[in-house]
């Protein structure tokens, strides 16, 4: 990384910097991903090209002849965000070699959980292995929300989606959420981090750090979807906070494989009594409503158990790093 300095993104900095993800898009009220996109674009450091996978945020922001993007932006397909970044990176390098590129340009590839955990994973793994210089931002709303709330590899256990409906026999998704960041860390990337928009300063700092890396960087951002989660649009930020407090979505960063908890998660590690039960995170969400019945109570216990196990594993990894 070019520098280890901490960036001081203040509310004023953010307010003063012109938006690069503009208003007028067609996202729903309370959309987590739209807030995430607007914020991460505040952390850019100069000329930037954005490439995006097919998904909610691509669809709401680029309905021809309108656009919400004040930066050069490319969409090609669902599974191609990282492959696009490869091509842009290669072109910029070739054009620079010929003296046709005037200044350094950052590349941000953006995809949802479908375009990252599932259909886009191969292209992402390939682009990272080849060492292209780009930041991949995963906005994780835990399902295929654009196509109508189907389950993805990022959907958590117990969630009712249109392809894992809470039925009389099967109570929502049975499988666990794929540990995508562990997969990305296994690529021995220079920078991997998780963030939620509630802790916006932390998130912006991580975006900037990812851009500073000369090579691939990966940022996993938690992004509630009121429509898909059956949550109150006013509570998107509340869930972005509860996910961290319940350790359902701890936030951390790993620089050259050395993992450190970010402050909100570190606080819980130091004072375990502050760790909230997963129940407080789950109970207000319509997608988990069926779990709060006597016959499904064991699932909530299982989610708690898996969350605890994953949290302990994470703590061990942070200590050993």
């Amino acid at each position: 990384m070019a520098t280890t300095q901490e960036w001081k993104f203040t509310a004023k900095d953010i307010a003063v910097k012109p938006d690069l993800f503009l208003s007028g898009h067609r996202a729903c009220a309370g959309c987590g991903p739209a807030t995430v996109l607007r914020l991460i674009m505040k952390a850019t450091r100069g000329p930037t090209i954005v490439t995006q996978a097919t998904g909610c945020m691509e669809v709401v922001s680029s309905i021809y002849p309108y656009t919400s993007w004040a930066v050069p932006w490319l969409h090609t397909a669902f599974e191609t965000a990282a492959a696009n970044a490869s091509g842009i990176d290669a072109a910029l390098k070739a054009l620079e070699r010929k003296g046709k590129a005037k200044q350094h340009t950052d590349i941000i590839a953006i995809a949802g959980d479908g375009g990252t955990f599932d259909i886009g994973l191969q292209a992402l793994s390939g682009a990272v292995e080849r060492g292209h210089d780009f930041l991949f931002v995963l906005y994780d709303n835990e399902g295929y929300m654009n196509t109508g709330i189907q389950r993805s590899g990022g959907t958590p256990t117990g969630a009712s989606t249109t392809t894992t409906p809470a039925g009389k026999v099967i109570p929502g998704k049975l499988e666990r959420k794929k540990p995508i960041t562990e997969i990305m860390l296994a690529h021995e990337m220079e920078y991997v981090a998780t963030a939620t928009p509630y802790y916006w300063k932390d998130m912006l700092t991580k975006v900037r750090k990812g851009l500073e890396v000369e090579g691939p960087a990966f940022l996993h951002v938690f992004a509630p979807c009121p429509r898909g989660w059956r949550t109150d649009p006013a509570k998107t930020m509340e869930y972005s906070k509860l996910a961290v407090e319940s350790c359902m979505f701890p936030i951390w960063e790993a620089v050259n494989g050395k993992r450190q908890l970010s402050i909100p998660s570190k606080v819980i590690a130091l004072a375990p009594q502050k760790k909230k039960p997963v129940k407080t995170y789950l109970e207000g969400q319509g997608r988990f409503r069926h779990l709060f019945t006597p016959q499904n109570a064991h699932i909530v216990n299982e989610i708690q158990q898996v969350t605890d196990e994953r949290w302990q594993k994470l703590l061990a990894k942070c200590e050993s790093a």
Partner: protein, 410 residues
């Protein structure tokens, strides 16, 4: 013939001829994935990169799907781009082929034509690219390694014409051309670079009334690859089709311009005729089969039989007028297809040629021969029987069999 530029004789197979043409075309980005029988192209190009003979950024992607996505993204960034594929690889690219043409990315791709699975077969036929006939790419099919070399250079000129701005695939028959050593006359590097010039980026009008280059440019931010719904999508597609029509002229123009430089032309660039003037019977084919058919026709002509050949060099856009004019005075026509359209009435080339001739007053009978699938060998002796069939049709005025599966166990 007018004086042409200095050239050098090389011994190259079709794949090497393609790689050499790409090297001379000063390509910025090559993104590709290996697949038989295209492999020699990417291997050869890797050598050029490893030895510092090119300035190209070479991306060895993890799949053909990503190869096309990366090539497209590089093209959108303003780079001159090339890739190569075949068979299953081209099929895996399918989604991205339509995205590339819809994005009006002037990518050049060599396709070393090969059979599609299943059963798995690595040998030559044209099932792969014929399945992509509606993907919005210009399709050029070559007869030999020399034409493969020449056509790749021409393809950049056609694709990058700002009035066309469409991707071009150049098909060369797997193994028959890709792996067979031939004499190839090559131009000097400087000659190719002068012929092509630097890639010109089309200019487009913004909503603010500014004219800006159609590329990812931080100074002129543009949204590329948007969603267009019921109110605009159709217009995008209509414009693509219009560009295809304009390409009919451009391909001929580039063929002539290149001929003046090299002394080599391929018919008018769209169709290549052999002894077709005053021919009574004609065969229409695509690709390297033309070479074999010419030998057969030479023999027939010695016997006094008026046989001719039409090689369809450009399959998309389809040169309908040229097909009509060239074939209207023949009395029977055989169309050769090296791929199947399962459940259709004959192969893809047959559909197109017969369709084009429907409005010709003479309406000569047109029959179809599906041949050579999975690399099955076809030679002059067996091809001779096709002409016998045509002569019988002319003599009796009757078509007994419209579609023949040639050289297959029934």
């Amino acid at each position: 013939m007018q004086k042409t530029t200095k050239q050098q004789i090389m011994g190259l197979n079709g794949d090497e001829a393609v790689a050499y043409a790409v090297k001379q075309s000063d390509v910025d980005v090559v993104a590709a994935y290996p697949i038989t029988p295209q492999t020699i192209i990417v291997e050869k190009y890797s050598e050029y990169v490893a030895n510092g003979e090119v300035k190209t950024e070479f991306v060895c992607t993890e799949s053909e799907h990503s190869a096309m996505a990366a090539t497209l993204a590089a093209s959108a960034t303003g780079a001159r781009t090339f890739t190569a594929s075949a068979s299953a690889g081209l099929a895996l690219m399918h989604e991205m082929l339509t995205v590339a043409s819809g994005s009006r990315a002037p990518i050049v791709m060599a396709v070393a034509n090969r059979a599609l699975s299943s059963p798995l077969n690595i040998h030559g036929d044209q099932s792969d690219s014929m399945a992509e006939r509606d993907s919005g790419w210009i399709h050029i099919y070559v007869e030999n390694a020399q034409e493969a070399y020449d056509s790749i250079i021409q393809a950049f000129k056609i694709a990058e014409d700002t009035g066309i701005s469409l991707p071009v695939m150049v098909g060369l028959d797997g193994f028959t051309l890709s792996h067979t050593l031939e004499r190839v006359d090559v131009l000097e590097d400087q000659t190719v670079q002068t012929f092509l010039g630097e890639r010109k980026i089309p200019l487009v009008l913004t909503h603010e009334g500014k004219t800006v280059p159609y590329k990812l440019d931080p100074e002129n931010p543009m949204t590329m690859g948007p969603i267009a719904l019921q109110n605009y999508y159709f217009e995008f597609k209509r414009q693509q089709d219009e560009a295809m029509r304009l390409a009919l002229n451009k391909i001929q123009e580039v063929n002539s311009e290149y001929a003046a430089l090299s002394g080599r032309s391929y018919g008018n660039g769209l169709i290549d005729q052999y002894k077709l003037d005053a021919a009574e019977i004609a065969v229409v084919c695509v690709g390297s089969t033309a070479g074999t058919l010419k030998v057969v026709i030479d023999g027939l002509r010695q016997e006094g039989i008026k046989a001719g050949l039409l090689r369809l060099r450009t399959f998309r856009p389809l040169p309908v007028e040229e097909l009509r004019n060239a074939l209207k005075n023949t009395k029977a026509i055989a169309v050769m297809d090296k791929s199947m359209s399962f459940g259709g009435h004959g192969g893809a080339v047959f559909h197109e040629v017969r369709h084009a001739l429907y409005d010709v007053q003479t309406q000569p009978p047109v029959v179809n021969y599906i041949y050579g699938l999975g690399g099955r060998d076809t030679n002059p002796v067996v091809f001779r029987t096709i002409f016998d069939d045509l002569l019988r049709i002319v003599r009796t005025g009757r078509v007994e069999k419209q579609i023949t599966y040639f050289g297959v166990r029934d």
